[in-house]
């Protein structure tokens, strides 16, 4: 029985070629319906942008049309990629009012104790929250220190040289399809420049910038912290932001110069119809430090993996994250660190909670390159499952290409132990409160990293999320 093995064992590859051509074909056909040069030019014109930015947008569009959507991660089939233009250019006849905002969102505002004046602004239905008073005082303080804090549109005009030099260099449009989309249609966002040696004592909050038109969908944040300077920047707020345009493809670029430190905190609580495909990245030079604090509570699907590139000797990255996935949510979050210089250190510490059918995924990457001798990294991921309808995955990758390294990684998955509940209840605490206490304790290391009012809000949020699931 001699089999012709040469024929039988020829293992066919899946023909990627065919796949790619088909996509290309689709795009050329779809261009009319999809995102066109005309639309992109329109966006640029409206903003009165310099020529180079228009070109940049068109270049990004080209890349966008070439790339395919990620083959990994959560299912985003429901995103109408073919008609991406509907996400970019909302139909002008789509006037919606406070009455159209879903009841549960309205209720959450009330229960979180958010001032009524802010409700409509957060829901994206105009009637903007007047933050000008607070902001004016802040402006004076910042001006005194020589800090630039402005919206991106203004920055492109007034600080053209700096923006031109840095815009989408940390996250190039070629990074992935949604980065390219962002490059083509970005709108709104913040630009912050901290001059050498300046220490900004109060956290800057992008919250004040929510009012900018288009902000919160394709907003671009660029922060440059010069030599020896310090900044704490807070993005977002714990109130659910509601928008009928349910694609968020923002981009955050952080440049941390020699000896500088930047702390970037986010509490994200998008409404539960949102696809949050956000790209955040920091480049850290010699002796610089980036600290990420990231809380993901909202959205239907999130793909968010802030990346730190440790480019200079002794650069440091710290990532602290919490993800809470409830019913109907697939929150795929994590952190990436690339060590490219010697004596660099990083630490990643994440917690996730999944309940009521929610999917929480930690997805990470740690790369130590040939040059990064004497690097150190520790990764710790803990997941808490509150029921067996939910899902929790941990997907880390470590890629080590150096011998002089010290790498530790650990992950744990489990639920609240019956023994711990018994112990707390034996001290007179009800079962519901005992569980809530343990969950609060679980997220405490993250809450600790947040400014007090945010920590309080996060605790309220957790309490809200837990109600009804326990008992």
């Amino acid at each position: 029985m001699d089999v012709d093995i040469s024929r039988k064992t020829y293992v066919e590859d899946i023909d990627r070629g065919i796949y790619d051509i088909r996509n290309e074909f689709k795009y050329s056909y779809k261009v009319e319906k999809g995102l066109t040069e005309k639309i992109v030019r329109e966006i640029s014109e409206k903003k009165n942008e310099p020529e180079w930015m228009t070109e940049f947008r068109l270049k990004s569009l080209e890349i966008y049309n070439k790339l395919d959507v990620p083959v990994w991660g959560p299912n985003i089939d429901e995103l109408d990629i073919e008609n991406i233009v509907t996400y970019v250019k909302p139909r002008t006849d789509m006037k919606y009012s406070w009455e159209d905002v879903p009841e549960d969102i309205k209720e959450t505002f009330t229960r979180l104790g958010i001032p009524e004046a802010e409700h409509k602004s957060l829901a994206g239905v105009g009637a903007q929250y007047d933050s000008e008073v607070v902001y004016h005082n802040l402006k004076d303080y910042l001006a005194m220190k020589g800090v630039i804090y402005t919206d991106m549109e203004t920055a492109v005009r007034e600080y053209e040289d700096i923006i031109k030099k840095h815009f989408m260099t940390v996250v190039p449009p070629s990074d992935h399809k949604f980065a390219a989309l962002h490059g083509a249609v970005w709108s709104g966002g913040s630009f912050v420049y901290i001059p050498e040696g300046v220490h900004v004592d109060i956290p800057l909050q992008s919250y004040f910038r929510l009012n900018a038109p288009g902000a919160g969908q394709f907003e671009h944040t660029l922060i440059i912290v010069e030599k020896g300077a310090f900044l704490h920047f807070i993005e977002g707020c714990s109130a659910p932001k509601y928008s009928v345009n349910n694609l968020h493809a923002g981009c955050v670029e952080l440049i941390v110069k020699e000896g500088a430190r930047l702390r970037y905190s986010t509490i994200e609580n998008w409404s539960k119809n949102m696809y949050n495909l956000n790209t955040k990245r920091a480049v850290v030079e010699k002796d610089g430090t980036i600290e990420w604090v990231s809380g993901s509570f909202g959205s239907k699907v999130s793909m968010l993996y802030p990346m730190s590139i440790l480019k200079g000797e002794r650069a440091r990255a710290e990532f602290t994250g919490i993800t809470f996935a409830g019913n109907g949510q697939h929150l795929d979050t994590g952190a990436k660190v690339v060590h490219t210089a010697p004596y660099t250190t990083s630490s990643i510490n994440t917690k996730s909670i999944s309940k009521d059918g929610g999917v929480a995924v930690y997805r990470g990457a740690l790369v130590i390159t040939e040059n990064a001798h004497h690097s150190k990294s520790t990764v710790s991921c803990e997941s808490l499952m509150l029921d067996n309808k939910s899902r929790s995955d941990t997907i880390p990758v470590m890629d080590i290409r150096n011998d002089e390294v010290d790498i530790g990684h650990e992950a744990k998955i489990g639920r609240i132990s019956d023994e711990a509940i018994f112990y707390l209840m034996s001290r007179g605490i009800s079962e519901e409160e005992a569980k809530a206490m343990i969950v609060r304790g679980f997220v405490e290391p993250i809450a600790k990293e947040l400014p007090l009012e945010y920590a309080v809000e996060m605790n309220n949020l957790i309490k809200l999320e837990l109600e009804g699931t326990i008992g």
């Binding site: 019956d418 711990a420 209840m425 304790g441």
Partner: protein, 252 residues
């Protein structure tokens, strides 16, 4: 009728108690009476059911009562939830206290105290009491801000249990092997704490197999628990019997 009247006068009555853990019957018809203000010692060999008795009094859901009754201040406890028992003044000092990361000792104890007394307690007022009790137990103040039992040594955990006893001030305290694994000095401090708690109103059940702790506390009764039953009760002189003979002669 008469029986129930008698029972109401008693503080704690355990009648023909049978308890299962999984498929295994641990307690097999245990009887025990305790009056207000009394200190009872339960001794017995490993696996006799001492910890089971503690857990079943506190209401650990892993332990199933198959027969018999526990009557506390005239109320049948059998089906009562753990936190309700705590609110009625029952307390157990755990042999292996759980570590609860993220919750500080102070916050935890204030929450528990408020839950038990069902009224708010001012932060400053509570801090004062806590500081006082911690001093008594020779615990450093910083422990108030540490996470509950997390990273505590064996001795620190036991002290933390006694601190909780003093703060929550229960009517019935069950000390499950609180003296095991402690050095002489630590036993002294724990004894000091328990003494502080002892009063005409408060009853204490001490489960142990050493007499370390007993040297400092004057127990009213000593019981031998063997194979799931109380086989002998008497005064402190019983301890000498154990020291000499062990429990062998009480096994069937």
């Amino acid at each position: 009728m008469i029986r129930s009247m008698v029972m109401e006068n008693k503080f704690l009555l355990i009648r023909d108690l049978h308890v299962k853990v999984g498929d295994k019957e641990i307690l097999r018809g245990l009887n025990l009476d305790i009056n207000r203000g009394e200190v009872h010692v339960i001794m017995g060999p490993n696996g006799a059911g001492k910890s089971t008795l503690a857990n079943v009094l506190m209401g650990n859901p892993k332990y199933e009562i198959t027969k018999g009754e526990i009557v506390y201040e005239g109320k049948v406890l059998n089906d009562m939830k753990v936190d309700e028992r705590a609110k009625l003044g029952i307390f157990m000092s755990f042999q292996y206290p759980e570590e609860i990361p993220g919750i500080t000792v102070e916050n935890f104890l204030r929450s528990a105290k408020m839950a038990i007394e069902d009224k708010p307690i001012k932060v400053m007022e509570f801090k004062k009491v806590l500081k006082e009790k911690m001093k008594l137990l020779e615990m450093k103040e910083e422990y108030a801000q540490r996470y509950l039992n997390e990273g505590f040594s064996g001795g620190e955990k036991k002290k933390s249990e006694i601190l909780q006893l003093l703060i929550l001030n229960p009517k019935l305290a069950i000390l499950d092997e609180t003296d095991s694994g402690l050095d002489v000095d630590a036993v002294k401090i724990v004894a000091k704490g328990v003494k502080e708690h002892k009063s005409e109103e408060n009853s204490i059940i001490i489960i142990t197999h050493h007499n370390n702790l007993l040297e400092y506390l004057n127990p009213d009764y000593v019981h031998f628990l063997v194979d799931g039953r109380i086989v002998k009760s008497g005064d402190i002189s019983l301890i000498d019997i154990v020291e000499k003979e062990g429990f062998e002669s009480f096994k069937n």
